[in-house]
């Protein structure tokens, strides 16, 4: 199995996920550093991502949009905080307005990626995603996961109904 560990902390609203690949750290790094590869995995097939700007340097920006089944194209960006190829990347993922500028009314989520060799041609990638609020989590999920979200909201409604 590729995903080797998952830790979820509802208090700090963070998710940590470890995965291992039969490849070198350099190869795994390319998944992030090459926009053409990035857009093949960032969004699901039903909600693919298109990266229009990809400046992976500290202070640099990465811009992308998703394309939904109905043709809707929500825009988003990464603000690059830290880059150490092929070992680490820290970005702030946020939503953008139609003109591509950061939408400051929407929350951002921090993404920390660590890539390290674990021997025998295997590489471990660790992702830590931290949200400022559950609302932020919900908004990120809404982009590209509408079906899943509807389901989640259904479950939440059920929980609230039970509590009532």
């Amino acid at each position: 199995m590729t995903v080797t560990a998952v830790r979820k902390d509802p208090h700090t609203l963070s998710l940590t996920l470890d995965a291992e690949f039969d490849a070198s750290p350099e190869r795994v790094w390319q998944l992030w550093s090459d926009p053409r590869q990035l857009e093949r995995w960032w969004g699901p097939p039903t909600y693919p991502a298109t990266f229009t700007k990809h400046d992976l340097r500290p202070g640099g920006r990465v811009e992308y949009h998703m394309t939904g089944p109905d043709g809707d194209q929500p825009r988003a960006y990464w603000e690059v905080q830290n880059v150490d190829p092929p070992h680490s990347l820290v970005v702030r993922d946020g939503f953008a307005d139609d003109d591509g500028s950061p939408n400051t009314e929407m929350p951002t989520n921090e993404l920390r990626v660590t890539i390290e060799e674990v021997g025998a041609g295997r590489t471990r990638m660790s992702i830590v995603s931290t949200f400022p609020s559950t609302e932020a989590m919900e908004q990120v999920l809404a982009m590209g996961m509408e079906e899943g979200l509807t389901e989640a909201v259904g479950q939440i409604d059920a929980i609230l109904a039970e509590d009532g």
């Binding site: 609203l13 995965a19 609302e135 919900e138 989640a152 939440i156 929980i159």
Partner: protein, 113 residues
């Protein structure tokens, strides 16, 4: 897209604050009253009392009477909502990792040729 009933919005707002998240964490297994909880934070009793009131309105904590004391307890069901959202987020990342794996394997095969 209107997806959240009013109580849900309130819950999100309540959990958006660091101190309130910390109160929720403490009140899971501690049997502390408002004054005892307040002693953990570098702020006034009134400020902590206000935070607790916000959490109470959001349904995240409730006050229970134990003898002459009144203790604050976390409503664990409320926390389950955050937990479900994390579950959904995990699913999203699992999908991404699957696609990454596919991509890595695909390129490796091409290199082998």
């Amino acid at each position: 897209m209107q997806i959240a009933p009013p109580d849900f919005d309130r819950m999100f707002g309540a959990l958006a604050d660091h101190t309130r998240r910390d109160i929720v964490r403490r009140a899971i297994d501690s049997e502390e009253g408002v004054a005892e909880l307040a002693s953990h934070y570098p702020m006034s009793f009134a400020a902590v009392q206000k935070h607790i009131a916000i959490l109470e309105r959001a349904g995240l904590v409730t006050k229970h009477r134990i003898g002459r004391r009144k203790v604050v307890r976390t409503n664990v069901d409320g926390l389950r909502v955050a937990r479900r959202l994390l579950d959904q987020y995990e699913e999203m990342w699992r999908g991404r990792i699957d696609r990454m794996t596919q991509l890595v394997n695909e390129y490796t095969r091409e290199e082998d040729r």
